[in-house]
């Protein structure tokens, strides 16, 4: 039982990352009808916004310390971050410590701008082109983006820790009456889960309760009619692209402390996020979220050692297996509509 609850927690946490990425991808699919292979790269850029912010914050004043030597025997250089210099060691260190949460505020405008530039500069020319062309151009863009990041940050993962207050784990099991140490969970992962839930809620509320959202939803259902009504749907779709980029970017920023970001993390998530979107049903936001959590939880269960012993290799293939079963039993995924991307 406790192992079960533990894996549900894990699944929710994994699922929230999948759901966030798939949500943005579905927004773009649903509104613009574009297969965006560069979406994973947006997630990766988000994580690197966090890396960059913490690097900028820790730009340091370098002085030589004659009492120490470096590995070649030269006088060692001691560096003090300027923020510590300016705000004193306590506040300065505090700012450094909170680099990842600070990045969230910075990431939103940056990601929206990147999204809008991508849409206006490139994607808008591909609305009428075949999906194959969209795949090729966005895949090319994804490669370019990740190679640029690699050029500046190298190929190795870069540690980007969460604030000290969120490091470590708490004993969830003891709280609900199990033995100690049976269900422990890291603080930051709970933060991630809560954060994702909020973002998902905000996006849904935005589409549901604002006029803007209403027009976009109408546009998703029938673009031509909305255009005939004299509404400039293109402009709104551009904003949707910005929004989708921001969602992917925020998912990336918050993910940075969970796993050290590297330049190819976007590609690692790309295939998975497409599977999530398709299993959820093309063009269905609810479906994307549902499928994200479902696959996250199933993946967690499949990695339990009892399950692996029963079916060897199941942890390797569970996602794909589930995708196949769902697509064969429900032709358009969990909540998909008829006629979207079927030809």
């Amino acid at each position: 039982m406790d192992a079960f609850i533990l894996q549900i927690l894990n699944g929710l946490d994994k699922g929230s990352a999948y759901a966030l990425i798939a949500l943005g991808l579905t927004l773009i699919f649903g509104t613009l009808g574009v297969v965006n292979f560069a979406h994973g790269a947006l997630f990766m850029i988000g994580a690197f916004v966090a890396v960059t912010v913490s690097r900028i914050l820790s730009i340091s004043m370098v002085v030589e310390d004659p009492t120490k030597t470096d590995f070649l025997g030269n006088p060692a250089k001691i560096s003090t971050p300027y923020v510590e210099e300016w705000f004193g060691p306590t506040i300065g260190a505090g700012i450094l410590d909170w680099a990842v949460p600070i990045s969230i505020i910075i990431a939103i405008p940056i990601m929206i701008v990147i999204g809008v530039i991508m849409e206006r500069g490139l994607i808008q020319h591909f609305y009428k082109r075949p999906h194959a062309d969209q795949i090729l151009v966005t895949f090319g863009l994804a490669i370019v983006l990740q190679e640029v990041i690699k050029y500046f940050y190298g190929a190795n993962p870069i540690p980007t820790p969460a604030p000290a207050a969120f490091i470590g784990s708490f004993d969830f099991g003891a709280m609900i009456g199990f033995d100690p140490n049976t269900i422990i969970y890291p603080y930051w992962r709970l933060v991630y889960f809560a954060f994702s839930a909020i973002i998902i809620a905000v996006v849904f509320a935005f589409l549901q309760f604002t006029t803007f959202g209403m027009v976009v939803r109408a546009g998703m259902a029938d673009r031509e009619t909305v255009g005939l009504l004299g509404i400039n749907i293109d402009k709104r779709f551009t904003m949707m692209f910005g929004l989708a980029a921001a969602v992917a970017g925020l998912a990336g920023v918050m993910y940075a402390p969970i796993n050290s970001p590297n330049y190819h993390m976007g590609m690692d998530f790309l295939v998975l996020s497409f599977i999530v979107v398709v299993v959820g049903g093309m063009g269905s936001l609810g479906g994307a979220v549902l499928a994200g959590f479902l696959l996250g939880i199933l993946e967690s269960f499949a990695s339990m050692s009892a399950v692996i012993e029963l079916i060897p290799g199941i942890n390797q293939v569970i996602i794909y297996l589930v995708a196949i079963i769902i697509l064969l039993t429900r032709p358009r995924g969990l909540l998909g509509r008829k006629g979207v991307m079927e030809d």
Partner: protein
């Protein structure tokens, strides 16, 4: 289908091709046969070409870049440039700084992409297009085994780069291939006594193992050597290579009764699984009244950097570390550090040494012929290359030398100062019989000089 024109057309083409092939003066096989003098890619003129095949794209690109730096340094030293590095400390004094056998060393580079197919394609282009007489490098065992087999077939020498799986000099060993790097068995043998001394002999271990060949051999090696000293293995779970989030594998560990977690992971897997394990607060817990511990059998400083503060206090093993104080290591660190501004990694070290050992073997053999080189390297004993007295064993072409047991440093002085050496395990403690079961199932075969 109309066949009447067909046949005539085909015949005409054949005749034309036949005429071209038959022209006597053009086909000049004799020039090449001359230059070959009995083996593939015999160096022509006053230069010799070596092939440096390292990962330049993909997750190991930084490690590959460091290997390439080491090779460039080695070429510089072989050609008489720089301060000579380890040439002054190397026990064999054959290298003069005038190239190899008087031929200036040139090199070509390629990208393995850490994929066996791409690595072989790259190595083949070095052999077929650039005339490389030796290929070296790589940052994974899959690539090492694949390229080693290719070099055996093509008839050139392969000097393995970073490859830690037992298989490279075990079941997949080849006569034309040589490995300086240590292996899974040595990691286990070196770690076990240190672990016993620090954590006691009554421990319950939980293994997470990367689900591919290297993971299997490492798990087997660490299991057998820790079980031999009294540890119990509670569980061993295989994790997919493609995993990025190990939470679902790590979460059940605490509840399993284990008090030690062994992460048989390398590279990105290691960074993520270690980060996740520390996130779950495993190291703050105590199980069976013992503090919970994590072990990473194969450490790499470059990768440890990716895990940040999470490596502190965690034991592992490594082939070499820049803080070693013997003359060879000091000379190498000095010349590498002066040229590039930071200390070399273990990958850089093993690649530099392999290049030097090859050059020296050619000098001693007096020939670039692979069979002569194999003969010179087999059973070769040397010193002054950073790992103490070392033997290139003839039976499996594996180097036997000291192995370092290291620990993540608590208070690093600099960004390079991540590991501290706990113990230098002497070579005899990690030596095994050539027919040890962990290495069984392969045959060296005979050296192949090619055409």
């Amino acid at each position: 289908m109309s066949k009447k024109i067909t046949r005539r057309g085909v015949l005409a083409v054949t005749a034309g091709a036949g005429a071209a092939l038959a022209m006597p003066t053009i086909f000049d096989g004799s020039v090449w046969a001359d230059g070959h003098s009995g083996f593939t890619n015999a160096p022509q003129g006053d230069t010799v070409t070596l092939g440096f095949n390292v990962p330049q794209t993909g997750p190991y690109a930084d490690e590959g870049a460091d290997e390439l730096r080491a090779y460039e340094l080695a070429v510089e030293h072989l050609n008489g440039g720089g301060d000579g590095g380890m040439m002054s400390t190397f026990s064999s004094k054959k290298l003069q700084g005038n190239g190899i056998l008087g031929k200036k060393v040139e090199y070509v580079t390629g990208d393995t992409q850490t994929k066996s197919d791409a690595a072989r394609a790259s190595a083949k282009s070095m052999i077929e297009k650039d005339g490389a007489v030796m290929v070296t490098g790589g940052s994974s065992s899959g690539v090492a085994v694949a390229v080693q087999a290719l070099c055996q077939e093509a008839g050139i020498i392969f000097m393995a780069g970073l490859t830690h799986s037992n298989d490279t000099t075990g079941k997949d060993k080849r006569a034309n291939g040589f490995r300086h790097f240590f292996n899974s068995y040595m990691s286990g043998a070196a770690l076990a006594p240190v672990l016993a001394a620090n954590y006691g002999t009554d421990r319950k271990a939980y293994h997470l193992t990367a689900d591919y060949n290297w993971g299997y051999t490492t798990e087997e090696a660490v299991r057998s050597s820790t079980e031999a000293m009294g540890w119990e293995t509670v569980n061993a779970v295989k994790t997919p290579l493609a995993s990025t989030d190990f939470s679902s594998y790590i979460a059940p560990v605490l509840n399993s009764g284990a008090d030690v977690l062994v992460l048989n992971h390398y590279g990105g897997n290691m960074v993520n699984s270690l980060t996740n394990a520390v996130q779950f607060g495993l190291r703050d817990k105590s199980i069976n009244n013992k503090n919970f511990e994590i072990i990473v059998p194969l450490y790499s400083r470059l990768m440890a950097k990716g895990a940040g503060a999470n490596v502190k206090g965690i034991f592992g093993s490594t082939n070499w570390h820049w803080s070693l104080q013997d003359e060879g290591s000091k000379a190498f660190v000095k010349s590498f550090g002066t040229k590039y501004g930071f200390p070399p990694s273990q990958a850089a070290h093993t690649c530099y040494v392999q290049a030097m050992l090859y050059a020296d073997a050619v000098e001693r053999a007096g020939s670039f012929n692979p069979c002569a080189v194999v003969e010179a390297l087999e059973g070769f004993e040397f010193d002054g290359m950073g790992n103490g007295p070392t033997l290139y064993r003839a039976e499996d072409h594996q180097c036997f030398k000291d192995v370092l047991v290291v620990k993540g440093k608590e208070n690093p002085d600099s960004e390079f100062d991540l590991l501290e050496i706990v113990e230098v395990t002497p070579a005899e403690k990690v030596t095994y019989a050539a027919d040890h079961p962990q290495f069984a199932g392969g045959q060296l075969g005979t050296c192949n000089p090619g055409a």
